[in-house]
Symmetry: C2
Subunit: 282 residues, 2 copies
């Protein structure tokens, strides 16, 4: 892998930033706010920032990055798809609980729902995220979609995933702004009390986390090498499971089209794979 150490350094930085983001969210609600509970009060609201930072930002960020980890390249694509989809599903569950918490809190306190730009964008993103996961499941996990469809839809899948991730971070920053203005009264937000500095820093951490993740997942040289077998058996999309053939596969080009030209070595691999037989892995 080209620039392996750089990748590892960036990965370590992004994980540290994401972990710090979750830690900061927890410290915020426990040290300055009412902690966490499920009683219709402010402590129930607090699940909202904590679970959003943990699920919609940190776990979603890891789910997006997971294909880029070079030590997973010799594992089957199916396994990686399950990890990718599984992490997104865990994130979605946390997001839904987080949304329920804030609606429950609003209803208990007779605060209107869905009036702010934060809520408009946020709920739209939750719906889009659920649709994105469903779309990914139907097209890339179930064995029915032909390879041509998967290939043609991949740019949309990756772009919408990255766009949702970026927009979620923007929405979180709006949410911090709202909460700090509403919650900090004496002293007010404008006097920069320690809580304001702390939560502003949380916002910066999350923004940097997003930047690191987006850099890593948009570098062509760190893209998971494309399985040769997907070229050979377009009707089934079968992939070998943790074979050397995959780990040494020719790196695909930067776009998502199947424009890799195979050489004689690839043809030899094809024959080898054909002979060995592959199990269908969707």
């Amino acid at each position: 892998m080209e620039g392996y150490r750089t990748f590892l350094s960036l990965l370590a930085c992004s994980l540290l930033l994401g972990f710090l983001g979750v830690l900061f969210a927890l410290v915020w609600v426990f040290h300055w706010r009412e902690g966490l509970s499920w009683d219709g009060g402010l402590a129930e609201f607090n699940w909202h920032p904590v679970l959003m930072v943990a699920g919609f930002i940190f776990i979603q960020g890891i789910a997006i990055t997971v294909y880029r980890l070079p030590w997973t390249w010799n594992c089957s694509k199916l396994l990686m798809k399950f990890i990718h989809a599984g992490l997104h599903c865990i994130a979605l569950i946390l997001v839904v609980v987080s949304v329920v918490a804030v609606f429950d809190f609003h209803n208990a306190k007779n605060i209107p729902n869905m009036y702010s730009l934060h809520s408009w964008v946020g709920l739209t993103l939750v719906i889009l995220y659920a649709m994105q996961i469903l779309f990914g499941f139907l097209v890339y996990l179930l064995p029915f979609a032909p390879v041509s469809l998967r290939t043609s839809l991949m740019p949309l899948h990756t772009f919408s995933g990255i766009f949702i991730f970026g927009a979620v971070i923007a929405t979180a920053l709006m949410g911090f702004t709202e909460k700090l203005i509403f919650a900090l009264k004496n002293p007010s937000y404008s006097t920069s009390p320690p809580e304001a500095i702390f939560v502003n820093t949380l916002g910066i951490l999350i923004l940097l986390f997003g930047g690191f993740v987006l850099w890593m997942v948009t570098r062509p040289q760190w893209k998971r090498p494309q399985e040769l077998i997907s070229k050979f058996q377009p009707s089934t999309g079968a992939t070998p499971d943790c074979t050397e053939e995959v780990s040494t596969a020719t790196a695909c080009s930067n776009d998502d089209k199947s424009d890799v030209e195979f050489n004689s070595e690839a043809a030899a691999r094809r024959r080898k794979l054909d002979e060995a037989g592959q199990r269908s892995t969707m």
Copy 2:
């Protein structure tokens, strides 16, 4: 150009969204707020959202997209660089005036500066944007940087440009949230008065504008074909000016490395260009 009509449709949509964004910002400050003036009052503050939407979002978005316009591909790269850099410079001027307006307003009203997450991120982005323009000028407009340096720094240049653009949109959404909470008191933001709905819609327009621009500038098939001449004369980076050679140049691969292999037709073009002589265009 592959998908020319799709590109045109997306471009039209993005221009419409950006134009509507600027229009909405103007309607907001003139219909619901105090209009525009330079008196240290709220009408001076209003320059801030108007100029930020017009400069930091709309014009920056166009500046990012400008290389993708297929009817400019037969013009010299230098001309396009000047247009790209010129638009960014216009945007920066509007941004600086916009920042001066808000500091001036705060100082006149004894409101603290730089306490909010919006201001922290926003001012950082203004500084990064100025540095990005300076960096682009030094490396890509002045004739001193070798092609190898330009090539190796291009991924950083494009990523940081796109990241700044996305983060600016996030910052604008924070700004709208702040302003609506502070300004709407009777009726309050939570009762969803027409102004709140209107400005929330402005936020959605801007987010969509960002999405369209980011989609267009990240599609490999819509990338400006790389000038052949940059391969032939790496020491000068000379480009022909509005010649057919450029307009029909081989499209480069999706990454920013010089990995295009030239065929005999390209070699013939090289000879033709060599014979014609090229003026240095940095």
